[in-house]
């Protein structure tokens, strides 16, 4: 079968490997471009959020290339992302593309259906259970390795002396990971990639601002949707920490995972959790970033994203209580890169000024 899937950040490298190694042909989803968005906007409902529109465009693009099946995720709500596949299927049918969308619902909600779909993918590819499990294991290792190098790149970028070097090396590292075929190779490629990044020429006399990136998962994970915000900020000399990685929940080393239940942290401000998507997380994460001495937070969300609107209406109170500035960027098909950049530059200027003022006050206190 010719299988495709949604493009989300760099995870496509691992998913491509999975599809190819389970006996199927992979139609690799192209990185979302302005054509993708145009196609999506033309056929998606007007008020659908930007992830829906980008995925719609991606599906139409892979359909052109001959994809027969699209594997994606379902959901239990109340975020509408869980109904994406239903609408995508309706619209793909209307356009007579002949593509079938197969959605994996959360196994906790419907285990039987989940297993049934997995078995279907395995059987049509002609793999034994053992081989299939092994393929999934390697894919997971690959995703973890990809996240690992990406994380390091965001740490190093604000220190680079030659602009763009970190990003170039990140691509090299990802290419090496792409070529790896088993656990040992993935490990080697990762070590090699991490080393490449560490060897970027750096200026450690800098004291970069620290900004946390929170918000809705798709626009946070897909650089093409958020106008490469982390690279943009990094090249402005800002260190960024992202609240969401595909492998987040298995990690112990990210800020977001340090303090246990994020919903408990958000509770004083939001009496109900989860409220769909990452709405409640966004509130909790803002508090965590404030506690960990970050200079500011950028909230990314698609225009009209319901949970993030709830979060946005509550965050000003968190800002007041914890003294952490938050910039909310709602992204839609009209958002331009220059607009995002201007607002980020202004935000970074404010944060720098704030730091200076704080430092001065500290000195005055010392004098007294």
């Amino acid at each position: 079968m010719k299988i495709s899937f949604p493009h989300m950040g760099y995870s496509y490298l691992a998913l491509k490997w999975l599809v190819e190694n389970t006996g199927h042909e992979c139609i690799v989803p192209p990185e979302p471009s302005s054509r993708t968005l145009d196609l999506g906007v033309r056929h998606a409902p007007e008020f659908a959020c930007i992830p829906f529109k980008i995925l719609m465009g991606t599906y139409l693009e892979v359909a052109e290339k001959g994809a027969e099946v699209i594997l994606t995720s379902g959901g239990m709500g109340p975020c509408r992302a869980g109904l994406y596949w239903v609408m995508h299927q309706y619209i793909l049918d209307e356009l007579n593309t002949g593509v079938k969308v197969v959605a994996f619902e959360p196994p906790l909600c419907d285990l039987k259906d989940f297993i049934k779909k997995l078995r279907w993918v395995r059987k049509t590819g002609g793999l034994s259970v053992k081989e299939f499990v092994q393929a999934i294991r390697i894919t997971w290792e690959k995703i973890k390795a990809i996240d690992e190098v990406e994380m390091l790149s965001h740490e190093i970028r604000p220190y680079e002396t030659n602009r763009g070097e970190t990003t170039r090396r990140l691509w090299q590292a990802l290419e090496m990971l792409d070529a790896a075929n088993n656990e040992a190779e993935i490990k080697d490629a990762m070590q090699e990639g991490l080393k490449l990044l560490q060897e970027v020429s750096q200026d450690h006399s800098r004291n970069p601002l620290k900004i946390g990136i929170i918000g809705e998962i798709y626009v946070v994970l897909e650089p093409a949707a958020n106008h490469y915000i982390q690279i943009m900020l990094g090249e402005m000399g800002v260190q960024t920490d992202r609240s969401i990685y595909l492998t987040s929940y298995t990690r112990k080393n990210t800020i977001v995972n340090l303090e246990g239940d994020i919903f408990e942290v958000a509770k004083p401000y939001l009496g109900e959790a989860p409220i769909g998507g990452h709405g409640a997380n966004s509130i909790g994460e803002t508090i965590l970033y404030a506690r960990h001495g970050f200079d500011g937070v950028v909230q990314l969300a698609p225009f009209a994203c319901i949970p993030e609107i709830v979060a946005k209406s509550i965050i000003p109170t968190v800002t007041k209580d914890y003294g952490i500035p938050v910039l909310t960027l709602f992204i839609d098909e009209q958002t331009g890169k220059a607009g995002v950049q201007t607002r980020l530059e202004a935000f970074v200027d404010l944060l720098e000024k704030r730091r200076e003022v704080k430092a001065k006050r500290g000195i005055e206190r010392l004098v007294i």
């Binding site: 869980g82 239903v86 225009f303 709830v310």
Partner: protein, 330 residues
């Protein structure tokens, strides 16, 4: 005796009789905000977060109107009212889930907010538990609360029955509490149309450009999903690949599918709010389904704070003309 304020929007149109009876049985005075006006809307736009949809902004406006007049604002956190949906996790739009917090943190000088959590999928006595919590807050003994609860259930049942006799909520509320009389029915309606949407969009005359009175004037008989019994609606669930996650959306979708199968319905009007999250799915789904159900005419009207009566009237009149033309041709 305290004064309890209930905003005349969102869930008001469906659950008001229950809570009015409940509070009055407990010797409280219930004060409802006035029907939506320009001032209420302007207040709401000022107080609420700018990205919110118009119903949420309106809610803030209604709360602002009540704030100085009452001791409590009744703003329950609606989480679920039944176990339904593919995974039994049907709930409300996330904005309903965060509503008490949004209101409390966005507005100053508010009276105390009664924000009990209504999660009825927990069990069949859950509503009584909710009532105990509310009554407890008002310092009432359990016996009295239980009595009030039973009386409220009874009135709510009567309310539903009136709705099922093709009545609009405000009219039914009038009959229940103010000895109002039933409006005379259209003797020979020219057209029959199903108006689908969330209760707070279709019954709030100000925000939807007075569409219901316009239809009445045009001699059109109007049906809404709230006139159908739950049983009739839930039957439609199996015609969908997956149910919606949201209670009001499920009602709208099931209702619309039901009306699409009725021979006597000439067309369907869907009223939605600008940038409504759930409706981005619901609206397109209904559009496609109406095409599949023998090309039943379908009009979608999105309202926001700039919607004017004239714009809505033009579009509805054009739709009606088209329906009449279509009928005369066949």
């Amino acid at each position: 005796m305290s004064k309890i304020g209930i905003p005349r929007t969102l869930a008001y149109f469906i659950y008001f009789p229950f809570w009015k009876t409940f509070f009055e049985e407990l010797n409280q005075e219930v004060i409802v905000s006035s029907p939506t006006t320009r001032d209420i809307l302007d207040d709401g736009v000022r107080e609420a977060v700018n990205d919110a949809c118009i119903p949420i902004k309106l809610y803030h406006g209604h709360v602002a109107e009540l704030a100085s007049k009452v001791d409590y604002i009744f703003c329950p956190r609606l989480v679920s009212v039944r176990k339904h949906g593919d995974f039994g996790t049907e709930t409300f739009c996330p904005k309903f889930l965060g509503l008490p917090d949004m209101v409390r943190l966005a507005m100053d000088n508010l009276p105390e907010i009664i924000d009990v959590r209504v999660d009825l999928k927990q069990g069949k006595d859950e509503l009584l538990n909710v009532c105990y919590q509310v009554g407890d807050l008002l310092g009432k003994p359990e016996v009295e609360i239980k009595g009030a609860y039973q009386r409220a259930l009874l009135i709510q049942k009567r309310f539903k029955k009136l709705l099922s006799q093709n009545m609009m909520p405000e009219e039914a509320i009038d009959i229940l509490f103010a000895n109002g009389e039933r409006k005379s029915l259209l003797s020979r309606p020219d057209l029959q149309i199903a108006v689908i949407g969330y209760p707070y969009a279709i019954y709030d005359d100000y925000i939807n450009g007075r569409i219901l009175s316009l239809l009445e004037k045009e001699n059109v008989k109007v049906y809404t999903q709230d006139m159908l019994s739950d049983k009739m609606m839930n039957r439609q669930a199996r015609n969908l690949p997956k149910s919606m996650f949201w209670y009001f959306s499920n009602r709208a979708v099931y209702g619309a599918l039901h009306f699409m199968q009725q021979k006597n319905i000439d067309g369907i009007i869907h009223i939605t709010a600008f940038a409504c999250g759930p409706d981005s799915i619901v609206d397109r789904l209904l559009e496609i389904e109406s095409r599949r159900h023998g090309q039943i005419p379908y009009l979608s009207i999105a309202v926001d704070e700039h919607t004017g009566d004239a714009g809505v009237r033009t579009r509805v009149e054009a739709f009606l003309d088209m329906l009449r033309f279509r009928r005369d041709k066949s």
